[in-house]
Amino acid sequence: MSSLTEHLSPRTNQWRRIKDRIATVSVTAGGAGVLFAILLIFFYLLYEVVPLFSGASVEAREPVATSLRSAPMYLAVEEQGELALAVSGQGVAHFLRLSDGSTVLREALDPALGSPDLVVAESAESRLFAAAWRNGEIALFRHQYRLPYPGGEQVVTPRLESVERLQLAEEPLVSLTFANTDDALVLVGGTRSGAWVGVRVVREENFLSGEVTTRVESLPLPAMPVQGAAIHLSGDQRWLYHVDATGAFSVLDLQARDASGLAAVVSRGGLFQEPGRLQTSTMLLGGISLLASSDRGELVQAFMVRDPGEGHRLQRIRSFDTDGVPAQQLVPEHRRKGFLSLGSDDTLQIFHTTAHRRVLNETIATGAAPAAIAPRGDLLVQLQADGQLHSWELHNKHPDISWTALWDEVWYESYDEPAHIWQSSASDNDFEPKLSFAPLAFGTLKAAFYTMLIAAPLAICGAIYTAYFMAPALRRKIKPLVELMEALPTVILGFLAGLWLAPLVEDKLTAVVTLLLAMPVGVLLFAFLWSRLPLSVRARVPEGWHAAVLVPVVIFIGYVSFAGNDALELWLFGGDMRRWVTNELGIPFDQRNSLVVGIAMGMAVIPTIFSIAEDAIFSVPRHLSYGSLALGATPWQTLVGVVLPTASPGIFSGLMIGLGRAVGETMIVLMATGNTPIMDANIFEGMRTLSANIAVEIPEAEVDSTHYRVLFLAAFVLFLFTFVVNTAAEIVRQRLRIKYGSL
């Protein structure tokens, strides 16, 4: 056969071929591009989430020589990571430049007194340290930094500031701890003769003149061993922790006095499970948790917990896996609840307490010299006895997330028991973020459960009737109407649920409950009465118009329920069912609760389930039901025995897709619940779902912070969940299509 295109010139034909080639390439490229874009969603979410679970790494910098010739008594790094402060054994503070080891500023703490016996820091994050001299005199210093920009370049300028000076004892001290706030300074020290002395310096500001007056109170302390023991003060200056060489602890309440007028011991016990000797101990950021390590490699975290009675006890919260390496030095981070542990055999381990996770375990040449971490947590500095300044860059972005932190009960600081809690926003700098997905996942499933409880029966029963019993003329009208509902923006359903339905349900709770019971009963009653009507009346309504007949009945039942609300409420619940539920049943009642969410989200989900289930039932081959009917089965028997079993995969698939929608729906939950992350299945309380949580929190989350990535993880979880559920539904549906095809 000759082609119709033969009359075209060869050039034209060539041009057509090129065009065809171009079209093929561009369509293929475009199609592949779109599909790639879709894959991109998955991989981008993954890309944002993965750093949460990757560990930390450490990178050594070249050591630099300094002018110091002994291990420092105190070492700290400033915010910018440019300078370190080292207090030498001679009592001289050196501000060292980390890049070359040069001394920027040198200042003797006290030229007259010379070498101090002790130099101790208040806590990891504070820039306050105390020096104690042989005569029992103590001075507090703060290292300060200014950041001027002379000539557009940033220069860190250090300064040492003396804060307080006082005499704690008349003899040398062997141990010292202190805690400082605007209102008071508490100092506790152990003397060489084996006694504990403590003072509280109370500062009172006259609010008229602004003048600050100080008053020194002595803290009477009971006799406890001094040698080999460690003491720590809690950040709120209430608890004094004393841990002796064997790890036995006593906790003193500095705000209470026992019978003999001494600070009361409120809790005693042992920190370590295996008997061992105390190696080192420190307070974690925030001054709540005590960290201690033993020479057997045990590393524990403990903090004060309220007893069921009135008392308090020091509770061992968790121990960390050190591979049996005893920690010789514990360096808490300044901004997070993590810490570094320098072990005896040159190991560096990095832990995070809330996540109960070890993010790094590496051998680096450390030795026992004092180490300090930069406030931003990205630099570890150690000054060796030979004056060499070693530094390591730490890459440790997200130590605070682990599987247990996300899903298990975690014992958070200041809580009396382990709990699932979502509380991401910080109230202060040493806040412990509580990022448990459990309450959010629970809330998501709770919302989905109540939604399905309302939507599934209505949608499936409706689909059964519409597909199998309804008159075709009516069906053609009903189906688009229900499907139009699917296009209804959820923000409208949410707004109606929150502002109209929630107050209505609260006000007419009795009517709503009555309605749920009265509706099936009333319909059945009507059906029974209908069957008693003479045939001539019944025949007026054609087959398949039951639903239309029922419309006035349903409206009537609804009207009666609401009209009878007040009388019924007065009769059964003393006039107010809501109060009755709260007071008599002891069930908390929120106005925006799960019932409201269930109804509103049910409205959003019904069309989805209805549409798919109706299709599945309607497309069951007719000859199957005809055969059954011909064998004498009633329509209902045919439906239950033949049609539903055949269509059940389709109905199941509809339910799955509906569930997927309920799980991911955001606006309705956001508007119709109080968004409190609680774990309680109570129908009269609200919830916070993963999706609503994302919508509320992500605009405020700092980009690439742990919080931000955790919200991405929530989105990823939602993505995976709905994708899996929908794929399952889709596969079931395709199987069904093949099955129908073979019938």
């Binding site: 082609s3 119709l4 057509r16 079209a23 561009s26 369509v27 293929t28 475009g30 199609g31 779109v34 599909l35 874009a37 879709i38 981008y44 979410l45 209505l458 949608a459 029963c461 409706g462 009737y465 519409t466 019993f469 009903i478 229900v482 509902m485 296009a487 209804l488 923006p489 923000v491 409208i492 707004f495 109606l496 006000d507 099936p520 319909v523 059906a527 069957s531 039951h546 349903v554 007040d566 107010d576 409205m603 019904i606 009633t634 329509p635 209902w636 239950v640 606006m667 956001l670 508007m671 999706s691 994302i694 919508a695 992500i698 980009v703 991405f712 993505f719 929908n726 794929t727 395709q734």
Partner: protein
């Protein structure tokens, strides 16, 4: 009837009863009830929105009532908003003394307005304390720019410098003077707005561009004396234009200042109100149904065409409507070509193997992925990643203030395009599947290339499906709020994203959206009670827009299908 007969009948009855139960008839009725309930719920919901949304614009009559309680009498004026029955016990617990006998009491929610004088717009009253109910003809309602509605009686009108017209003596003339003055101030305010947003907006825009140009030159090290002089000159011209406009504005402001009225509140308090603050004045109790209908239309039009006032609780929703439509148009422009190309690729070019089937299932399922996930992706990828890079590359002079590295119109459209992509792909593919193979083969047999077959035969025949897909996508996009909250909508955008200043369409701007407007005004507004009717109206408007789009989809599909019907089978 003897005993035997009776028992027989009874037995048959029981048999019939059991038969009725066993036949499944009750279950059929229950299933039918599920349909009825669903339909009643949908229709009821739409009716609720329509009644509450449209009812808001009706000028309600104003009730005058004296409330007597514990020997004291308060005179109140206001619109009745809601009446409910409350149990006496509840009221007594709340500390009310009741005299009536019943267990239930009627309470009325009265909108008394006058927030500036009375503190609250709304007040709950117990009906049994009512005395002297009346609907006085001369009650006046003022809609104001601030402080919500005013309810009271006109006492006098004073034009600036002019003689006071006493309303107690010359009610008619006072009212007419007031209306004339309001009409004048309204048109002057319109002028002011035009100048502020048009001319002054343009000058500000120019100044900002000058600043950016200067910064750009500085960054490239090209800011020499010549360039500086040039910039300074341009700036001086703009400043001069600005100050002349400023003078004009001041004159306009001056021209409406000084008119004022004196009005009396229900409690006898007299207040002076500047006419410049009044948007509209009417006496609802004196209006006939036709006049009320006119006022109704006027208020409805204001709602559709005006900008919001008072933290979005009053005025119109035009910017939100505009933003919604513009965003949806941009989204359509993005999503249609990509969706169609992807569908054509999947159906016409890709080999129909396992991979293609898998991709098809995946695309299908993306339609079920929660919209908030798209929002998160849009925020992370488009806004922070792509936007951040664009800023570094093309807009370094305005950094650290982000241009595209912040939520905006373009990112919102792109995110929604991605969200609706599966809808378009699935619908187009369905249309392509329906085209008989014979049509394609015929075209190819006549010597047409694949591209020509596609362009001339297949795509036109698939156009109904493509249109359906697009309109379904538009309907979905118009109602979607959750992702937009992350990638570009704001509660109040000062300017429209489309205006007369270069580059006319501001893709980097944030915009307002009807759906978000509903969420924001209904849930984040300081005065939810006052805003509620407006939220209903907005919701109804959104439903109407989406229903229209859906109906358009259905009819378009039907018409296009009709055209190519002869080709099928």
């Amino acid at each position: 009837m003897d005993k035997q007969q009776y028992q027989d009948i009874h037995a048959t009855n029981r048999g019939r009863q059991q038969g009725w139960l066993r036949s499944g008839e009750p279950m059929i009725w229950l299933n039918a009830a599920a349909v009825s309930v669903s339909i009643i719920a949908v229709v009821g919901l739409l009716l609720l929105l329509a009644v509450r949304g449209l009812g808001h614009f009706w000028p309600a009559d104003v009730l005058s009532v004296d409330v007597e309680y514990q020997g004291q009498t308060r005179a109140l004026l206001g619109e009745v908003v809601e009446q409910v029955e409350v149990s006496g016990e509840q009221l007594r617990e709340a500390g009310f003394e009741l005299s009536g006998p019943g267990p239930f009491y009627q309470r009325t929610l009265l909108k008394q307005g006058n927030r500036d004088a009375l503190g609250t717009d709304f007040v709950w009253l117990i009906d049994e304390q009512f005395a002297n109910l009346a609907w006085p003809e001369d009650v006046m309602v003022l809609e104001r720019l601030e402080w919500g509605n005013f309810y009271g009686y006109l006492r006098s009108v004073t034009p600036r410098g002019g003689p006071t017209v006493d309303a107690t003596e010359e009610a008619q003339r006072a009212w007419e003077t007031l209306q004339a003055l309001i009409a004048e101030t309204v048109s002057v305010r319109e002028n002011i707005r035009e100048i502020e947003q048009g001319a002054i907006g343009a000058i500000n825009h120019e100044l900002e561009r000058l600043r950016l140009r200067e910064r750009g030159l500085e960054m490239r090290g090209e800011l020499d004396a010549v360039a500086q002089a040039e910039l300074a000159e341009e700036r001086a011209t703009l400043d001069a234009r600005f100050s002349s406009l400023q003078d004009e504005l001041n004159a306009l402001y001056e021209s409406i200042r000084g008119h004022h009225i004196e009005a009396e509140l229900a409690n006898g308090q007299r207040r002076q109100l500047p006419i410049a603050q009044i948007v509209r004045a009417y006496q609802p109790n004196a209006l006939g149904p036709v006049e009320k209908l006119g006022l109704y239309a006027e208020r409805l039009w204001e709602f559709l065409s005006d900008e919001p006032r008072e933290a979005n609780t009053e005025g119109g929703v035009f910017p939100a409507m505009f933003g919604t439509v513009l965003m949806v148009i941009l989204m359509s422009i993005i999503v249609t070509p990509f969706g169609v190309v992807a569908a054509v690729y999947l159906r016409e070019y890709a080999s129909q193997g396992l991979v293609t089937r898998t991709i098809r299932v995946a695309v299908n399922n993306l339609a079920g992925v929660p919209s908030i996930v798209y929002g998160v992706f849009g925020l992370g990828f488009f806004v922070y990643f792509v936007g951040g890079e664009l800023d570094q590359l093309f807009f370094p002079e305005s950094l650290p203030r982000p241009t595209f590295g912040t939520p905006g119109l373009m990112w919102a459209s792109l995110t929604l395009a991605l969200l609706t992509l599966p809808v378009v792909i699935v619908a187009t593919e369905e249309g392509l599947t329906r085209i008989p193979k014979a049509v394609r083969e015929g075209s190819l047999a006549l010597g047409a290339t694949r591209a020509e077959t596609l362009w001339r035969v297949v795509l036109p025949m698939a156009s109904p499906a493509m249109m359906t897909g697009l309109i379904l996508a538009v309907a979905r996009a118009a109602g979607e709020v959750a992702p937009l909250m992350l990638v570009g909508v704001v509660k109040l955008a000062p300017t429209l994203p489309l205006d007369g200043n270069y580059p006319f369409l501001h893709l980097d701007q944030k915009f307002m959206h009807l759906g978000f407007h509903i969420y924001d005004v209904g849930f984040q507004s300081p005065n939810v009670e006052a805003a509620r009717p407006l939220v209903y109206a907005t919701a109804f408007l959104l439903v109407v827009i989406i229903a229209l789009l859906n109906l358009a989809a259905v009819s378009l599909r039907n018409r296009l299908r009709e055209r190519y019907k002869s080709l099928e089978h």
